[in-house]
Symmetry: C2
């Protein structure tokens, strides 16, 4: 977070990044010995991804500005022009890191496929060369899942860049993640095809222990994949908040994954693979997002663009769906779910929805305050009653004229709500507040997941041990 | 190719596209009966991809113009501004078509994975849900290859869009396809790992019947993946020529594939799968490219952008590498290889290289003529001798001043060379000439492949039959 506005790295930054990359490369080279330790390699890749993203973003600032990929920061006194869509850089580095990681994650399979080198004969080699049918004896477990996750992420990045470049209405934007989810769902269909879910204990007398949801399960997965990216995109608008909330979610998911890999969990555990898979996707994500946050935190030097929000949300959707813990995932999205539900009256136009609903910058005080919708036509009696009720509950702030008619009401986003509760504050204070809310809700969600789930499911799968999970 | 400049489809176009889509959807629904016939499904997907691409491009013209994605057509009297980067639309439709095609190509595996539905019991289902380890019994053959091809194509599309948006120097551009090739090569390494090639007969006494190239084989594959996209990008510059050459190559590759699937080839043949795989990638490519050509042929309504050239070249690299016929592929790139070799003196700055080398438009005659490099400093004696020799061979046209010093020489591209040979001509005539050259060279290449290869290899693999291929 150097104060310098230049597009080159300072000497200190260069040394630090060099040290980081050097250490990570050392770790990577070390993993070639022994049995591989892909998790260690993943950590090393995350460090390298951090360094590359950090440097690339700095270097690309003038390039993006020149190409017209820029926007004004409206919450600063001088409204500086800064580069947009930097999330794309972050996403591309991430994708390359995950691609280079493939031989580390699937190393054992290579060895299996090329071992027995002594007894190779021409016929087998020719079969190799021509059709690869030798593979049928050496499948790669989760490789297809992994690749389908990457495909979905690439799809969302392409569509996100398109969204950032072209002027798309939000009603159309909402379905963009659906296209991104397609590769993952189709490969799931071909490669896995299981649509059975465990039934909560209170319902088991009526439905049996598992139930086949069929296409409904695909609809559910699609809904998760549409919800995660859009909900992160909705909780945006102030410096750093998109990246910070994503980082908190990612770190909490990692903590949850570690629970399954730590010695407290009996091994082998049926969910070990799923959570390793999740870590391989999340660790580099933390790397690139942390690098982006260095540039995007208040006062922002770069904007992240919708590309980042879609990308981040899709990373979570991919690990939740392919790791089979989408319910746990949704428990970490409580602030986003609240923000969505709270926004619905404006999304469905029961209350007028302006183009932007971000908090308003007061150039006199230098503080942010809740932005408002102006009621040019007074609301209908029903809406007015509802708004008055919400006002009494301090869930919205309305302003009335002398006749007692509502002329203004605050926009329905969690950022504005926080400002209604806590009063005007500086932009970074608001961002920190959101980090705190996200962390608190996420920890509460994980607690519910691991302690209270026993009330509705037969057992917490962390304490796996009996015959029926 | 409607004359209307509007961004909506004419009534006639709507009916035709509707009829096409209707027929294709009918065919698709039909493939659900019987054993699937993925090749028929692929044809139907190609038809739908044509219709979608055709309509999307038309609709997106004003959106792209508004977003500033536009360029001037310098070879027209009025230099109209038309939208750029339309290849991205074409590529995205293509990728979605290939993704939706997955369940058709890998249908049998699904059936295998979900059959035996009668004897499902709870334990197996739970294993399914948690770890998917059932998959080890139901691998998917080429699924990982297919997905890695898609990943490479998506990579190149993302990087191509970046290239079109940002101002990148050609020396940096050249390596972009290398990044695109990474996913394919890495998955090849993990999933297949065979680096042995058949040795030509004259060398077999020295090297044996096959030779393991090791990492050199990866270098070779990377070189193919770098060459194909860049060489198509180099043979660009006039309306329609990028798309037309790609279409010719694709159609010839399809003809070659069909040779292996037609009744004249004994079945089962070891290369059948590879050529089916190739068809699955090429048929939709023909669909989207044909739709793009309708808008991009002289006089162009849209430009395709570097995105298209990279994308098209990478499609060929993917089918050539993953289908194991990269040598055949290169025989179809004879004009591009010639163009590259012919350009080398300018690429390596032996002869000055201006920013653009496209043929020059003469606004008086309305014809294109070869563009020239101006020699502000006379060339060195060696270069002058070489240029004079090439001039005598009619491989370049030089202009001299009264002192006999070279002041101008034509730029070294195949387009300019053709204009040196045939004289100035209209833009569409030049594009047709290139189509003719590409077709003629490609047919000659395929003839060499299937008739003359017997001189250096033991047999043409089309006539597969003996024990050692």
């Amino acid at each position: 977070m150097a104060a310098a506005k230049s597009s080159s790295l300072s000497r200190q930054e260069i040394w630090r990044l060099f040290a980081l990359v050097g250490a990570c490369v050392g770790i990577l080279l070390n993993t070639f010995q022994g049995d591989g330790a892909p998790l260690v390699a993943s950590l090393a890749f995350s460090g390298i991804a951090f360094a590359v993203t950090f440097s690339m973003i700095r270097w690309l600032v003038p390039v993006f500005l020149k190409a017209g990929l820029k926007g004004r920061d409206m919450a600063k006194p001088r409204r500086p022009e800064i580069p947009e869509t930097m999330g794309a850089v972050c996403a591309i580095v991430y994708l390359l890191a995950l691609i280079f990681f493939i031989p580390f994650a699937f190393y054992k399979d290579i060895v299996a496929a090329t071992s027995g080198g002594g007894n190779r004969d021409v016929v087998i080699e020719v079969e190799h060369v021509e059709t690869g049918r030798m593979l049928h004896r050496f499948p790669h477990g989760k490789l297809a899942s992994y690749l389908s996750g990457l495909l979905s992420l690439q799809c969302i990045v392409i569509l996100g860049i398109g969204d950032d470049l072209l002027d798309i209405r939000w009603r159309h934007k909402v379905i963009i993640p659906a296209f991104g989810a397609i590769p993952m769902l189709i490969v799931y269909f071909v490669d896995f095809g299981v649509t059975q879910v465990v039934v909560p204990v209170p319902l088991q007398p009526y439905l049996g222990s598992t139930i086949d949801l069929g296409w409904l399960y695909y609809a559910y997965m699609a809904a998760v994949a549409i919800f995660c990216p859009n909900s992160i995109n909705m909780l945006a608008g102030i410096n750093g908040v998109e990246v910070a909330q994503s980082l908190v979610i990612a770190v909490l998911l990692i903590a949850n994954d570690v629970l399954y890999l730590a010695p407290i969990t009996p091994y082998p555990h049926p969910a070990t693979d799923s959570h390793l898979f999740s870590l391989y996707f999340l660790l580099p994500f933390v790397g690139v997002s942390a690098a982006l946050l260095c540039h995007n935190w208040y006062p922002s030097k770069v904007f992240v663009g919708d590309t980042y929000c879609y990308f981040a949300g899709m990373v979570f959707a991919v690990v939740g769906i392919l790791g089979h813990f989408s319910k746990t995932l949704l428990l970490l999205f409580i602030p986003q779910i609240f923000n969505f539900l709270y926004s619905t009256p404006q999304l469905f136009n029961l209350i007028p929805c302006p183009r932007h609903r971000l908090p308003k910058f007061n150039s006199v005080t230098g503080l942010l305050d809740a932005s408002v919708t102006e009621w040019t036509v007074p609301p209908s009696p029903l809406v007015a009653t509802a708004l008055n009720l919400l006002h009494t509950l301090r869930l919205v702030r309305v302003t009335k004229n002398e006749q007692g008619q509502i002329v203004e009401s605050t926009n329905l986003t969690i950022l504005n709500l926080w400002l209604v509760w806590a009063g005007p504050m500086k932009e970074n204070q608001l961002a920190w507040s959101m980090v705190a809310v996200q962390t608190f809700c996420g920890l509460a969600g994980l607690f519910v997941r691991h302690r209270l789930a026993l009330l509705v499911f037969q057992e917490d799968n962390l304490a796996f041990g009996s015959s029926v999970y």
